[in-house]
Amino acid sequence: MAQISNMELENLRHLISAEQLCYAKARAFAQQVSDPQLKSYLEKQARSAEQSIQNLNQFLFS
């Protein structure tokens, strides 16, 4: 397990939660918007948030 401080743990907890919310919102909103560029942006955001969650989780589960 990676060596992290309490402060880092708190920040990771906050950031992972925020990325999870971003992922959920981006996926849901991408289905309902009509502007193609905004839709593309949201789909990209969803992928980016998914990747960020995986990256941040490394520090908790590795």
Partner: protein
Amino acid sequence: MLRDQDIALDFLFGVKASILDLTRAAVEAENPRLKQMLIQMRNQAEQSHEEIYQISERINAYQAAAPAEYQHIQRVSQFFQQNQEDMMRGAAVSQQYGSQQYASTYQGSYYGNNYGVGTGSSQYQRGTSYFENVNPVQSQGSQYYRNK
């Protein structure tokens, strides 16, 4: 039902908050690998913010603040120019007194009524790190950034 404009705005503000959170987390990180990753995520978030800002403007979800008027910029510019001149004048005077004088009068110059006037600012200028923290322009970031 949320409109495209509402959704764009939600992401515009959300990504901005994310940039601030990532920046703080990166500064507070001790683990070098984590720090590097947070900085990289922050940089990507800045690019994402620019992208959603452009979209938000295009679909009329957001209107940036108007450019500052010339006379307002000039007023602020004159204030800092005068401040700078006072500091330079003060620095020249303080060099004559030497560092002992600086150490003994620093506190008095900051808390006293003569801030920014005459020799009072000379000691202030030497405390550059503290001065930078209280500079209102630097502490608020650029106008361009805050407008978003």
